[in-house]
Symmetry: C2
Subunit: 274 residues, 2 copies
């Protein structure tokens, strides 16, 4: 789909439309131009978007792809009408309507996961989890580890911080993270503050070659970044985790989303918001 324009039209943020749309578009080669049109909640705004879609269709000589999440029928009709010269993919039609049938109730036509949720308990717990994860980043605080849902362990720069923040932001999980450092390897035991919480611990490891590359970007030519030192640290960290029966995985070929999914599956925290 070279140079294809893709519209994301929503009466909310359009995040649902775009997340899902990206996942679908990733099935196809080529790169597309993204046009976000959030907060389209009136017939007037929808008409303006319709004009835009049709102008793009004329200019490019091809149908733009149009992902929509529009719950208001009057608004939706404008974009799904024959007058629209885009290829419209209606995310609610194929899913909301079958569920209305299955549940035997009408949907209440709220949009997305966020709209009313903004100041709900659930939302506030997510924000609290983000604050917790920031305060417990990189072993900054051993206080209150009992309140953590998950504690990530691993050598410096193996991916603990982004994974913790992702768990907090996306799932409302209080994720602390704790670096394993040379002192731990010399002592050859886990930091004592972690011992009461082994069930919540999850390890990350990484290929020493990749680790050396990442560390060299930070501190070029340092002992910290030297491949030999990285090999030593990774091996020592894995030995410590194995001995304590802490599950772990390698971040080398995994995204934070994949790592987070595995952690949720394996640790299965009691308190899981999403």
């Amino acid at each position: 789909m070279p140079n294809r324009s893709v519209f994301f039209v929503s009466d909310g943020t359009g995040i649902t439309a775009e997340t899902f749309g990206n996942s679908i578009l990733a099935q196809f080669p080529g790169k597309s131009r993204h046009v976000r049109r959030p907060f389209i909640d009136s017939v007037e705004k929808a008409r303006a978007v319709l004009d835009e879609i049709n102008q793009v269709a004329d200019a490019e000589g091809r149908k733009p792809i149009v992902f929509i999440t529009l719950v208001n029928d009057d608004v939706r009709r404008i974009i799904t009408d024959d007058a629209c010269r885009g290829r419209v993919l209606d995310m609610f039609k194929h899913f909301v309507e079958p569920l209305e049938d299955e549940f035997g109730v009408k949907s209440n036509h709220r949009v997305g996961r966020f709209s009313d949720a903004a100041k709900s308990t659930e939302y506030n717990e997510r924000i609290e989890a983000i604050n917790f994860s920031l305060a417990h980043d990189d072993g900054q605080s051993a206080r209150n580890l009992a309140a953590a849902d998950v504690i990530l362990l691993g050598v410096s720069r193996c991916g603990k911080t982004p994974t913790s923040l992702y768990l907090a932001m996306q799932h409302g999980i209080k994720a602390a993270n704790y670096p394993l450092i040379p002192e731990d390897f010399e002592r050859n035991t886990l930091p004592s503050s972690l011992v009461p919480h082994l069930k919540k611990c999850f390890g990350l490891t990484i290929d020493p070659e990749r680790l050396a590359q990442i560390r060299n970007e930070r501190r070029p030519g340092s002992k910290y970044a030297a491949l030999e030192n990285c090999r030593y640290e990774v091996h020592a960290a894995e030995t410590l985790m194995r001995r304590s029966s802490i599950g772990w995985l390698s971040s080398t070929h995994k995204s934070i989303e994949e790592i987070a999914t595995t952690i949720l599956r394996d640790i299965a925290p009691d308190r899981l918001i999403y």
Copy 2:
């Protein structure tokens, strides 16, 4: 849908299935029990999930809802077959197939936005953006503000940090954030380090009542948290931003997702990964 079980079955992380599924389920009252089954990439694993779905159907006397993102036809067929006693919502069938038709090419059957992307340039830029946003949280560093895509301004505890992290994590945006503090209000000018970057600045504000409540959770009974002080700071911050023609919005009734969407629309950074 009281006590309805919902399965998310995917050959990848299932994040797409779940994000979209949650958005659809939010249209209906009631709470559902979520069952995540990620990494279902073989016929054997699919059969095990099928058994699980059917057991739940029998136990609950109702069809579980089953959101699937499965690209392998053999795997998918097991879950979409008549033998499955769940209500299956197939996220690819309604979207991938029409696009194959529109583009005139077969999809390449990758799953989700993450699978091959893990170590792509795009992914590494996201991780770099997260590190940048952490290093530039709360005005920690005025170095390298030129490299920021967006700079968020506002009084302490108005929501800058979670919004910056969200922009970085979700959109690969390097979002610095900078607190407006009593010294700025006394001087009655913006911090001088921001002046070269006004075009990238975006303000957050908040109802003083809500701000006082948030600050009181942190420092109960302090001057910092007093309603009168919050009123003064919010008013002074808005005055500063207005005078510098910095766009802003209130976080009081908005989620970080909604705020981020508005910022992307208004600032329109050149470098927008997602």
